[in-house]
Subunit: 116 residues, 2 copies
Amino acid sequence: MTNSNSAVVVEKGLIKVSIMYPYAEGKTFNMEYYETKHMPMVAGFLGTNLVRYTIDKGVASGLPNTALPYMAVGSFYVKSLADYQAAIAPNRDAIRSDFANYTNVAPIILVSEVVR
Amino acid sequence: MTNSNSAVVVEKGLIKVSIMYPYAEGKTFNMEYYETKHMPMVAGFLGTNLVRYTIDKGVASGLPNTALPYMAVGSFYVKSLADYQAAIAPNRDAIRSDFANYTNVAPIILVSEVVR
């Protein structure tokens, strides 16, 4: 696969929607499926509102004697939160039903603003 | 302040260390201090290992009827986790003692790998 989005500049003031998959014993995450199927599908729903999306693979906790907090985090950088929500709403069932193809954990979702 | 780091390309394979400040009632976070004092101080410890750092301000949960998960997330993109740890270790007391200047919550830390 290509990584052509890397050069797209993420700017202060953009909205970032991060979908975070907590680690716990017995929980699984298929990164290959997530990267090649799930995230491109969701990105396709977002159209020109989407500036970039990123994927992080959790490898460790940064604090001693604590468990890995998240197995993976996917983030969409968008210009408008309202447009993001309007694009996701009619596709929510398709997105949620795809979860079972790569994980057995429910994500938490953080909406944030890019400060820097 | 400037935002000149925006054009720096974050590449697949880099290590990302994210310091995440959970939201809870009574917990506070001073973004202005964090952005102008704390993060630049830590970035200064990292030298050329640091490719970029980012700051996100949490604004909402992306799921209905759930609380904001994090008030803020700061992330350092570095080439080497070992070099990051070696740079932070001798400065850990300075970093931790600065926490009280901007927050009253203990962060969690996620070490991840940039997949995309």
